[in-house]
Amino acid sequence: MISRAERSANYAILALFAVFALAPIGTVLVTALGPDDASNGGGIANFARAFGAGHFGTYLRMSLLVSVFVVTVSAVLSILSGFALGTMRFRGSTVLFYVFLLGIMMPSEAIVVPLYFDLRALGLTDTFWAVALPQVAQSVAFGTFWMRAFFRTSSRTLVEAARLDGAAPRTILWRVLVPVARPAVTTLVVLTFMWTWNEFLIPLVMVTAEGLRTAPLGLAFFQGQHTQGFTLLAAGAVIVATPVVALYLFLQRQFIAGMLGGAVRE
């Protein structure tokens, strides 16, 4: 029923669309590896030169610290709260769930202005905490939603069985549920890592000291200063994008499932 011509046309469409999606990324990669304006050879050496010229070592270190902190803390807090909201019934649990739901849709723009001035009054701007803690709060909103959904749907019989055996809630959570929840937790971790690594507005507002800049922020400043030629800037862009892209290539299923399932749906 489906003709050969139609099948070939489908492949052509797939190929065209794939090229469209890859072309801008490819442009950056090719430029980053090409000869620079001073004709200094080019190739892999560009990355080393961009690394030095753009201070990317400092920025990557800050991004890594922030990401590890936000991912770890928010994952633990989300597992705890998702467990309570997903398996226990207590007064106000539904209201609490909706309160957390609010945070998923809330844009950073809604909080960043007072957050800056209040943290400045406390002397906390230009610190690691000003960059990390607001992002923990944002990630906890999604994480609670995500873990609650998992604990609610897939583990009721497990919880019942463990409860009949007389296991304490703490044992049920860490010994029974969390091992089963590994896929959900992995998805949560990769998404939180991606969001934290790529975040721009919060570090832009909270930090002026160069040593506290995250990688995307560092790249934006590097673009501002480095107006001569595009080679080193492209190399810097590749450096900043690589950690998340590499993780995506290994765990693409978790990324795609999480980002599509992350739309607020019950």
Binding site: E6, F17, M88, Y116, R156, N198, F200, L217
Partner: protein, 293 residues
């Protein structure tokens, strides 16, 4: 249901408490403070002055702010509507014939979603540059007269920024719709084909009704992304030339941290949040009603 109740319901609060404390301190409290600040005229340094709803009146009357929200609407067309149309066409074409290599295709077209917006902005700034790849391409194919400084001209800048959104949202929407379309039973298609339906009627009779849920999710994700555009505008145009690409998110930043109009910035942030809540609620409602009817 009763069986799920844990004795000593204090335990539930104990488990929620740590998350709730961080969440309340760094999201709920600032949100409340945003609302409070939005009633003041404050430069961030001296004592603020209560102005009531004046900042909100500005959102409705001030040309710059009205323009910013208008630009956001244009971005919604580029981020949500165009990808939705392209995605629907692609998904229904690709779903008719089973093709190999779909997982690879999915990986590729989803890739722009995981690249930092700043990196995307740097890449497209280069592509749009007067001596950049886009203009070279136009010259090569003989359309040199169309070449221009894409991000530097009043009429071209906003569509140019919007097209970047089309580029990175189309993959997401297509992947989503393909997943929905692949669940449609082949018998449905055979039934309408026996009725003599062509590809177009097939699309409206079978494909579109079956992927309503996915359309709702796709619209929610992309519309919110359009309304939250900040990184892209900050890095590519800074709202310029003039204010031709200024958007609400950028106005929040610009007013609070560059112009010293903190109250006005807070009011824009609050309005943006309300719009985002309203739109996602409306889309979810419509999606649900359609799904049950």
């Amino acid at each position: 249901m009763k069986a799920r109740t844990t004795r000593g319901s204090g335990l539930g609060y104990l488990y929620v408490a740590p998350a709730l404390v961080v969440y309340a301190a760094f999201l709920l409290y600032p949100l409340g403070r945003s609302v409070q600040l939005s009633f003041y005229d404050w430069d961030g340094l001296t004592l603020g002055r209560w102005v009531g709803l004046a900042n909100y009146a500005d959102v409705l009357t001030d040309d710059g702010l009205r323009g910013a929200f208008g630009h956001a609407l244009v971005l919604i067309v580029f981020y949500a509507l165009v990808p939705l149309c392209v995605g629907l066409v692609l998904a229904s074409i690709l779903n008719r014939a089973k093709v190999r290599g779909l997982p690879f295709f999915r990986t590729v077209v989803f890739l722009p979603q995981v690249v930092a917006a700043v990196v995307i902005a740097v890449a497209w700034r280069r592509i749009y540059a007067p001596d950049g790849p886009l203009n070279s391409l136009l010259h090569t194919v003989g359309l040199g007269s169309l070449a221009r400084a894409w991000l530097g001209e009043y009429d071209a800048a906003l569509p140019a920024v919007g097209f970047v959104g089309t580029w990175f949202e189309t993959g997401l929407v297509t992947v989503l719709l393909l997943a929905g379309a692949s669940r449609i039973s082949p018998e449905l298609y055979e039934a309408v084909r026996l009725d003599g339906a062509g590809p177009v009627r097939e699309f409206f009779a079978v494909t579109l009704p079956s992927v309503r849920g996915e359309v709702a999710v796709a619209l929610t994700l992309t519309v919110i992304a359009a309304l939250r555009t900040f990184d892209l505008v900050y890095v590519t145009t800074r709202g310029g030339p003039g204010t031709s690409t200024s958007v609400p998110s950028y106005e929040v930043y610009h007013r609070a941290f560059e112009l010293g109009k903190v109250g006005s910035a807070a009011a824009v942030g609050v309005c943006l949040t309300v719009v985002i809540f309203a739109i996602s609620l409306a889309i979810t409602r419509v999606g649900d009603r359609d799904a049950t009817s």
